[in-house]
């Protein structure tokens, strides 16, 4: 596996798994408008994932984008652990999405300057959509945090719980470093300061307290996952596993 292939796959995997999680909201949203919004975001994530998978398949030369999505096991997925945790209640989903959207916004802004033309083009395209996602999740975080005592308590609890998955977003391993040196990859570490600014500003508007850094989860980009990913794949990949190459 080339470094560029793995790097591209990691981006695609985080989009796909978050898209799959968001699709669980379809028909379960708190209001009709919100149901549509959550399903729309899910479609955006699938679309972004597809673009990156198509590129990864092209780099690989033997597998198709569908093979990559449907025929790998959990240890072969390289998404951030944050995107695989359960949706929980609506506020919980908004907290997770906000923290990830803020990262994605900064990540794609930088990746749009990549020396790899395809990654740069996919990033520029994705960025337009992620701006909407970030606005959506930020607005909800503020409404819920600065809502009732009950809603504030619930999203504060979610924030405290999900915080352990934030550190992983900014990690750099040997693949990131190699591709950063060749002008292709994003310097994730360098995004932390701007991410802090976005997060701190929004949390302050939402009357929420930024949790202290304590235990931090790690390992997603090496194929180490929470217990949830296997269940997600079991559902998502069922059809292609049970009826290989089924088309409709």
């Amino acid at each position: 596996m080339s470094s560029l292939f793995t790097y591209t796959l990691r981006i695609a995997d985080s989009s796909l798994i978050l898209g799959q999680r968001m699709s669980e909201w379809c028909s379960n949203g708190p209001t009709l408008e919100e149901d549509i919004a959550l399903s729309n975001i899910s479609l955006d994530m699938f679309g972004q994932a597809n673009g990156f998978y198509e590129y990864a398949a092209q780099l690989d030369g033997t597998k198709s984008a569908d093979d990559l999505a449907f025929k790998r096991n959990e240890r072969e997925f390289f998404n951030h652990q944050m995107v695989e945790i359960e949706n929980g209640h609506f506020g919980n989903t908004m907290v997770r999405n906000f923290l990830h959207d803020a990262f994605n916004f900064l990540f794609y802004t930088e990746l749009a300057n990549s020396k790899d033309e395809t990654l740069a083009a996919l990033a520029a395209k994705s960025l337009k959509e992620v701006k909407y996602h970030l606005r959506h999740s930020s607005n909800w975080l503020i409404r819920l945090g600065d809502g009732t005592e009950e809603s504030n308590l619930k999203v504060q609890d979610s924030l405290n719980e999900i915080w352990q998955f934030t550190n992983e977003l900014f990690e750099m391993d040997e693949i990131d470093t190699e591709l950063l040196n060749s002008g292709i990859a994003v310097d994730n570490k360098a995004l932390k300061e701007q991410w802090n600014t976005i997060v701190n500003n929004t949390l302050s508007k939402a009357k929420l307290t930024r949790p202290e850094d304590a235990y931090m989860a790690t390992g997603g980009k090496k194929g180490m996952h929470t217990e949830y990913l296997g269940f997600i794949l079991a559902e998502m990949q069922f059809l292609q596993r049970a009826y290989p190459n089924a088309k409709w």
Binding site: G19, E33, E34, I36, A37, N40, I41, S42, L43, D44, M45, F46, G47, Q48, N50, G51, E117, T118, A120, A121, L122, A124, K125, S126, K128, E129, Y132, R135, H136
Partner: protein, 150 residues
């Protein structure tokens, strides 16, 4: 000769409607970026509107059907991502078609397509399709879709 052939392709593409908004064609939508003729085959460059828009797959199939029905078999569709699609590629005539269809066209000002009032309120950032958000008019009280600027 070649230019004539390419013009013919553009003409045919202009008859393929957007699957979700049938009053405008895929050419008017701005997703056909270029038509080239190389090695005795037409290369049609297409850019997606939104990454996850299901209509993108549908209009690719519609384009293929349209060309095949008109006896053109030597063509290839290619997806390009850069530059990313923008509503700036829609001209005023296209925007007017959207307005008449009941969709507020992309603009800095959200104007009610029914009564032309600028007194409108956002209901939801996400509408019936990826490209639209939902508004209501505070004068005539009608809800309507607004084609988002992107």
């Amino acid at each position: 000769m070649q230019n004539g052939k390419i013009d013919k392709i553009w003409e045919l593409l202009n008859t393929v409607p957007d699957p979700e908004i049938p009053v405008i064609s895929v050419v008017e939508l701005g997703v056909i970026r270029d038509v080239q003729f190389t090695n005795n085959s037409f290369l049609i460059l297409i850019t997606p509107t939104y990454s996850g828009c299901p209509a993108v797959k549908t209009f690719q199939d519609d384009i293929k059907t349209c060309l095949l029905e008109n006896g053109i078999e030597n063509f290839e569709l290619k997806i390009v991502y850069s530059p990313a699609w923008t509503t700036d590629w829609m001209n005023d005539a296209t925007k007017e078609k959207l307005r008449k269809f009941g969709i507020a066209p992309p603009s800095n000002k959200v104007i009610c397509p029914q009564c032309n009032s600028q007194n409108t309120t956002l209901i939801s950032e996400f509408g019936s399709t990826a490209c639209k958000s939902l508004f209501k008019c505070d004068d005539c009280l009608e809800p309507f879709d607004f084609f988002k600027c992107i």
